[in-house]
Symmetry: C2
Subunit: 358 residues, 2 copies
């Protein structure tokens, strides 16, 4: 059992921005006039051209009318269309706020795309005015949207790993850019059911590495795995490196955050864990520098818990979820989604996180 | 709806061996004296040294004693041990015949290994006397066994793709051999939840291809996917190529059989489909010769259904399941598991299967 005293003490490792939340749905314009932004979530983070950038997941839905439920879907792999059903349609099941069931078909209530924001101070963010800011889903494996993108900086290239959602399943797509104008799509790098994929910023022993989160059925669970690749496109040697822990804060699901930070003690990974009440907290893993599939240490208690009002109330409450940060010396500036609704920031001391693992 | 007339007509494409079943559990010695062979299943098939070979999945369990339930598990990644619980133990749940639940832990009632059998006539099979016949599970991702191995012949090498089962989940492992004595383990090539993986016998457009069967959660389903690889170890560009079909014989799950057969019309793949009553039938897919992710044709009706007594009654009844065959000219000699209990054989005319797809 986690005592309140310990949980509270542990969560002081996070120094939240006083400006939180730093981005809310009302600050984000919809991609079309007939859509509205329902929530903004879980940004990838990178430095580029002297600024801090967020690649935010923007979940939109059509403006709703009385007596009708309408929802978005990608048609012909690229055109966003709106489907409409009368709310009293006998085949309609709206019992899950995220999912619309029509007979044997599933749809999502919202469709997510990725949106660029940049900032000179790391706190006040706006869409850039010198380039397109929206990355839309594309193709038959993204018809329900793209979500929760990690951005890994590797030399002069940026690798985007995101959740690709369609009626084919939930998988991991990858694209690559050097200028944030042209994007090379590398296809799905992980088949369903998979998400939370982050590529290491440099090869280890001559091979690229990534963390990912497949899900088991009957056997296994929502565990963190590692894979290797010679070329960033093809991945193998999958290994389970961190499982859920019964009775603890990460008992139900765990998943990687951003690319790990290289430290003198090994690779430091901030991950999320959820308990059976769907409360999402953050913890840390320390991975061996040369054999990163070896977990040297793991947070006994969370390093951050959903304590603030904006972390406890929203589209999906009691959630702090990160997939992006910037490390400079000892300072880790982390951006995170709170309650699946708004974007926030917090800083950590890398030294303090490492010390907490001892 | 499939009429009885049509189903019966379609299933005549299979010419069953009159000797069926050709291998039964009583003909297979257990790997240890304290174990018994519960069932034998789903062989990989290949030609080697002038003979026909089966790589059979052998599911064993410890000999059971009154008042006790005992089950096998791999300890320290390589030693088979037997766990025992009193049947009235309060944490024990035996409601699923395949699974033993102890509190929050899962185990399997049986542990599977792979066993070689060979034959000069393709009908009468025995374990070889000139080499080890057993391939045991090994390592932390195989602690509950290895199952349903496809064997792909590629030049002078054989590629074994099998289901690796452990508390980490159900994934696909691969090993390689040229002499069936020494095996090179290539690690897990597909993360959970995945099975039914078959590698093509030759590259297409310079890349290796495989079929595999990830499973979705909430979205997606039990669909056939394709992946590509430069080296057989690392796989990417995952694409869904065949989904289940609502209301049809393959409405609940589909999965590839063996490596596809190269024909003048494209790659011919025999796959299994199950309906919501868990009745497993076989059908065919015709894949484009140069773009094998394009499905040119698909069986409207099964090419084989579980009609015989030995296909309808057993450990898991109403199942015909294949993952191995040998093609010579127009003759496809297929081996299959019946009712998850015994091994059988049947021949098909490749021409007749292709014609049935028109």
């Amino acid at each position: 059992m986690i005592s309140k005293h310990h949980a509270s003490k542990a969560s002081t490792l996070a120094n939240r921005f006083p400006e939180n939340p730093i981005l809310t749905p009302s600050q984000v314009r919809p991609s079309r006039e007939d859509m509205e932004v329902e929530c903004i979530l879980n940004p990838g983070v990178f430095s580029y051209a002297g600024k801090t950038w967020l690649l935010v997941r923007v979940a939109e839905r059509p403006k709703q009318e009385n007596d009708w439920i309408s929802f978005p879907v990608l048609e012909d792999s690229e055109h966003l269309i709106v489907k409409r059903y009368r709310r009293d349609h006998p085949d309609l099941d709206l019992s899950d706020p995220r999912i619309i069931r029509v007979g044997s078909s599933f749809y999502l209530t919202t469709l997510s795309h990725l949106r660029l924001f940049c900032s000179s101070d790391g706190v006040h963010f706006n869409e850039p005015d010198d380039r397109p800011s929206i990355i839309f889903p594309h193709g038959v494996h993204e018809t329900f949207g793209i979500e929760d993108c990690r951005v890994t900086t590797m030399g002069d290239q940026f690798l985007l790993t995101y959740t690709a959602v369609s009626e084919n399943g939930v998988a991991v797509g990858c694209m690559r850019t050097t200028d944030w104008v042209h994007f090379e799509r590398l296809g799905l790098i992980m088949p369903p059911h998979n998400k939370d994929c982050a590529i290491f910023g440099e090869p280890v022993n001559g091979l690229h590495h990534c963390l990912h989160r497949p899900s088991g059925i009957d056997l296994g669970g929502n565990f963190i795995w590692m894979a290797e690749s010679p070329d960033l496109v093809h991945w193998g040697n999958h290994r389970c490196i961190a499982r859920t822990r019964a009775g603890q804060w990460d008992e139900a699901r765990v998943g990687a955050g951003a690319a790990p930070v290289k430290t003198s003690e090994g690779w430091l990974e901030i991950y999320h864990g959820a308990d059976k009440h769907h409360r999402y907290c953050l913890g840390a893993l320390l991975l061996d520098a040369n054999q990163p599939y070896r977990v040297l240490a793991r947070s006994r208690l969370p390093i951050m818990t959903p304590d603030m009002d904006y972390e406890q109330k929203g589209f999906f409450g009691n959630v702090v979820f990160t997939n992006g940060h910037i490390a400079e010396g000892d300072l880790l500036t982390m951006y995170y989604g709170a309650s699946d609704t708004v974007i926030c920031g917090a800083t950590f001391s890398i030294r303090e996180i490492l010390d907490s693992l001892k």
